[in-house]
């Protein structure tokens, strides 16, 4: 592929690599950013893990469901931090007032988004892998024992994270830093509806309908089915994937529309203010 392809829809490895390098340099330069990736998931793990131990000591049901809370908190963190990792990398450009430099370079939107997705995975790996080992050491819960099901859970959760991250980035482009709080809080709106810590059946009927429109709901139901009933619900994973494909495509369309709108409104000139 020519280094100077003129197509808007192209994916040049050297440009994606340039952006990944930019974010890796940043992570390397700041030990506080690295520590932050690990400490909050670790805190969450300890809170929910010790809660689970306490409940299991007093309830036969939870003694049988050993690990369900810990698995839930790990998967929730994966979902939340997958989106946060995407959004924070994007926000770095706005905080550093570098977005205009990128927008006037040959970098295509799809390449920028690809680099942000890669960095989301890098940040997840740095933050979550150590926490999974803490879960083994302190609570005897080995998330990797879920096997191939873990891959299905991971894929469906990260696709949702990226879809949310892509939409949030588009809103930030269009509306500027005033929309920054969305990047930090939007995923929490999904938390009660995706039934992270309880089955969907606990919700009132009308909320269950909404819950089942969200891909992570299928993942958390599937996780509970695997841990408590030792059944892998492949049907739930396929349905989640189908929904994710739809939402991801919609997120990309929304991002491009918001980017075009920001060109019309002039908001690309005002990023960082």
């Amino acid at each position: 592929m020519s280094a100077h392809s003129t197509s808007a829809v192209t994916l040049a490895p050297h440009r994606v690599g340039a952006m990944v390098l930019r974010y890796l340099y940043l992570l390397r330069s700041s030990w506080t950013r690295l520590v932050e990736l690990v400490y909050w998931p670790a805190v969450q793990l300890f809170v929910w893990g010790f809660l689970q131990l306490y409940i299991a000591q007093n309830s036969g049901f939870f003694a049988r469901a050993s690990g369900v809370f810990i698995a839930a908190v790990l998967m929730w963190d994966l979902l939340f931090r997958g989106q946060l990792g995407f959004s924070i990398s994007f926000l770095e450009e706005m905080w550093s007032r570098n977005l205009s430099n990128l927008m006037i370079s040959p970098l295509r939107p799809i390449e920028f988004v690809s680099a942000l997705m890669i960095m989301s995975l890098v940040r997840l790996a740095i933050g979550m892998v150590p926490v999974t080992f803490l879960a083994i050491a302190f609570f005897g819960f080995n998330v990797y024992s879920l096997g191939l099901a873990l891959a299905a859970f991971f894929l469906n959760l990260i696709l949702t994270s990226w879809a949310v991250g892509i939409v949030v980035s588009g809103v930030l482009l269009r509306n500027g830093m005033g929309a920054e709080s969305l990047a930090w809080t939007l995923m929490f709106v999904l938390m009660p509806l995706t039934c992270v810590y309880y089955p969907v059946s606990v919700l009132p009927d009308w909320l269950q309908v909404i819950a089942w429109t969200l891909p992570p709901t299928y993942v958390f139901e599937g996780m509970r089915a695997l841990i408590m009933e030792h059944v892998f619900r492949a049907d739930l994973m396929v349905e989640a994937f189908a929904l994710n494909a739809l939402y991801f495509a919609a997120a990309v369309i929304a991002f491009l529309a918001l980017l075009n709108s920001s060109r019309r409104s002039g908001s690309l000139l005002q990023t960082g203010e």
């Binding site: 340039a18 930019r22 006037i104």
Partner: protein, 253 residues
């Protein structure tokens, strides 16, 4: 792609309206390849919006912009690798070192022999002393030299500069102007320079476009402007234009 006779930048009846404000109101001009043109105007005259539309950052409300024959922003990917821009109002990541920033941008522009190009820019722009220092820890003058290095990393055919010497001390500002003159002589790039610094425009520019409230009020060489307005400095001409004394003064000549 442009033919040999086609302007490097061609603006035709360009309009940009933000809600009720006509930031740019039907301007037209064409810049020949290899020329250096100054874009003058007070605050709010429409200079930055004009440059933003040329770069494809802002979509025009009406009119057309072509750079090296490509319509902006629709065909921007045909030419963005041949353009670059520098402004004190946009920044580079502060935590990355100068070398890291130039590496990232060099890769974005697919610069060949990037290591050699960075070494060459470091020598030309006197960056070697602080090339491995975080960009955020540099002085204003050093940051300007780094921003210029980033703007020149791909040896652009079209270079857009928005107040390149703003807030610089006179020594550094003079250094930057000398380097821009040298770059233009060596590479034959087309340069559009928005500035409030009249001495800088007189020194660097073969042509001056004066804007006021989104419109072009005058467009001529610095020398002819001085003669036509009967003034000794471009600053006096500029003040005549923006204060509405332009036409009367010209008529008196």
């Amino acid at each position: 792609m442009p033919t040999a006779a086609e302007p490097a930048i061609a603006v035709d009846q360009l309009v940009k309206v933000y809600k009720a404000t006509r930031a740019v109101d039907g301007i037209s001009f064409a810049l020949e390849p290899g020329s250096v043109t100054g874009l003058l105007g007070g605050n709010g005259a429409g200079k930055t919006t004009t440059i933003a539309m040329i770069m494809g950052l802002v979509t025009p409300t009406a009119g057309t912009v072509k750079v090296l024959g490509a319509a902006m922003p629709r065909q921007r990917y045909q030419v963005l690798h041949k353009m670059n821009f520098e402004s004190p109002y946009i920044d580079m990541p502060h935590r990355l070192t100068v070398r890291q920033n130039l590496k990232v941008f060099g890769r974005l522009y697919a610069v060949e022999d990037l290591k050699g190009r960075i070494a060459s820019l470091a020598e030309e722009l006197d960056l070697t002393e602080f090339i491995d220092r975080p960009t955020g820890k540099l002085s204003a003058g050093q940051k300007t030299r780094v921003a210029l290095a980033k703007a020149l990393i791909n040896s652009p055919q079209v270079l857009l500069l928005d107040e390149p010497t703003a807030s610089l001390d006179p020594d550094t500002a003079d250094w930057v102007r000398s380097h821009l003159e040298r770059f233009r002589e060596e590479h034959g790039a087309t340069v559009l320079l928005a500035s409030h610094n009249m001495a800088e425009v007189e020194r660097l520019c073969e042509r001056v476009i004066i804007m006021k409230r989104g419109r072009i009020e005058d467009d001529d060489t610095p020398q002819r402007l001085l003669v036509r307005y009967g003034r000794e400095t471009l600053e006096q001409v500029f003040l005549d234009v923006v204060r509405g004394r332009g036409e009367a003064r010209e008529a008196a000549q």
